[in-house]
Structure formats: C-alpha cells, structure tokens
Symmetry: C2
C-alpha cells in the first residue's frame, strides 16, 4: 500500500486515498442515503459505471473504510458497511456540503437548496454528530468495527 502515496504530507496522502471522482460519493451514499448493496450504488442518481464501482469498493475495502458482509436473511447479496475509519470521513463530507452551497451556485443553477442546508450551516458539529449517530443506529454499530 505504501506505493500509493506520493509523499509524506498527510493532506496529500488523504487525497491519494479519497481524492477521486467517486470514493467520497460512495461514502456519502452509504452515510446519508442508506445505500448498502452494489445494486443500490448502481441505481443512485450519480450513475456510476459497474467497473469503476467494483474497483472503488475494492480500494475502499483495502484501506479499511468499508467492510463487506452478508445479511442473515439473504446470503447471496453483499452488503457494505462503513468502518470507524470510513465514518470518520463525515466532517470532510459536511465541509464539502457547506463549501458547495456557499460557492458553486453561480456555476450550477440547479444545485439542491433546502432548509436542511441552513441547519447544517447554523451548527455543523451537531449536524455531523447527528449523521454519524443515525448511521450507526441504522446499521447496528454500537461498537467500532
């Protein structure tokens, strides 16, 4: 894995892992849209291609940001769950949301606008905590995985 990194800078190294067009989109879909299966990701509005999705899920597993498992009632379908390392990306995703809302509207007139965005901006710590707690509750994660 060491050869994945360009240098010793922690910021650049984070970008080496999640600085691409899809990794954080997949994490966001898991965290805030209840996506869990390959099919869920395929059907999302971002419309990721099959081969790219496979390669990104593999990479996210290698860096222990997600783990692959099965549901007891359905042994055929893989489900993906965020680990603590993956859940720890939540503050980055919240900052992307705030930056986007404040800075991209002039380039993207259809950007989602809603009351929730005002809530995020008025108390981002609380919103971040809420997302994390909600995800853990919905996925039965009482302990670190």
């Amino acid at each position: 894995m060491e050869d994945k990194f360009r240098c010793n800078c922690p910021i650049t190294s984070a970008i080496d892992v999640i600085g691409d067009k899809w990794s954080l989109v997949i994490i966001k879909q898991m965290l805030t849209e209840e996506k869990k299966t390959f099919k869920d990701f395929m059907e999302s509005e971002e419309a990721i291609a099959t081969n790219i999705l496979s390669s990104r899920l593999k990479m996210l597993e290698e860096f222990k940001l997600i783990i692959k498992g099965k549901l007891p009632e359905n042994k055929k379908t893989n489900i993906y769950t965020l680990t603590e390392k993956g859940i720890a990306l939540t503050p980055i995703i919240v900052e992307l949301l705030i930056w986007s809302d404040n800075n991209l509207r002039e380039f993207h007139s259809d950007l989602y606008a809603g009351e929730q965005l005002e809530m995020v901006k008025s108390d981002k710590e609380k919103f971040t905590k809420h997302i994390i707690e909600n995800y853990k509750k919905n996925n039965g994660l009482q302990h670190a995985i």
Copy 2:
C-alpha cells in the same frame, strides 16, 4: 460550466470541481507552503507534471478559486492567488489533515508526524483561522477578491 456537474447534490458537485488527485494539493501548496508561480508548483515534492498543472490551474481559474496576476517588479512571471472561494476550502483541507493523521498511519509508515498536528487537533477552528489570516496577510488580501 453546468455540464461539469453530475447531479444536483451539493456534496457530489463539490467533488465534481475539486475531487481529483491534484486540485486540493495545489490549493494546499498555495495556502500553507507559499507557492505562487508555475515554477513553485513544479518544484514541490508532489512533483506534478507540466500538462496536468496547466490544466488544473486553468480549471481552478474558471471556477474562480484562484486568480492569475503579475508582480509589479516582475512582469514576466504569472503569480496565482487564492480568491475567497479558494480560501474557503481551508476547513476541508484541515479535516483531510486530521483524518489522515488519525487513519492512514497503518498504511503509510512515513507519514509526517509533528507537534503541529496535535495543535490542529486540539483546536481546529483556531488553526483554520490562523491559516486563513496568515495567507491573507502574506498576500496583502485585506478585502475579498
């Protein structure tokens, strides 16, 4: 510019603009390493290729994250300065730093470790503000650009 965006999700749209291997690295170099010129970026330890650097700088200008200018004493060399939109990426960069320090050491044994990282983690708001103020002071930015 609208065709750059995959959908209306603000998080995905932020990733459409800065979700690549280089954009945030260049912003980080400007913000924390006093890099300003094409030559400065070329000489950085991340060792970006000329053609990629040209294309990224152009894209960052199009989204008004940086502006190109000249120094009064040297009319030949372009210097790049972060705009308010670019400076507003600082909280994202700080969160990448914290996440990296907490989560990538097992994969990257040479990751930079220093006292500064403890300072960041003990008060990230203060550290973020310090970076922004320092950048503005060093670049004579008293007002929004």
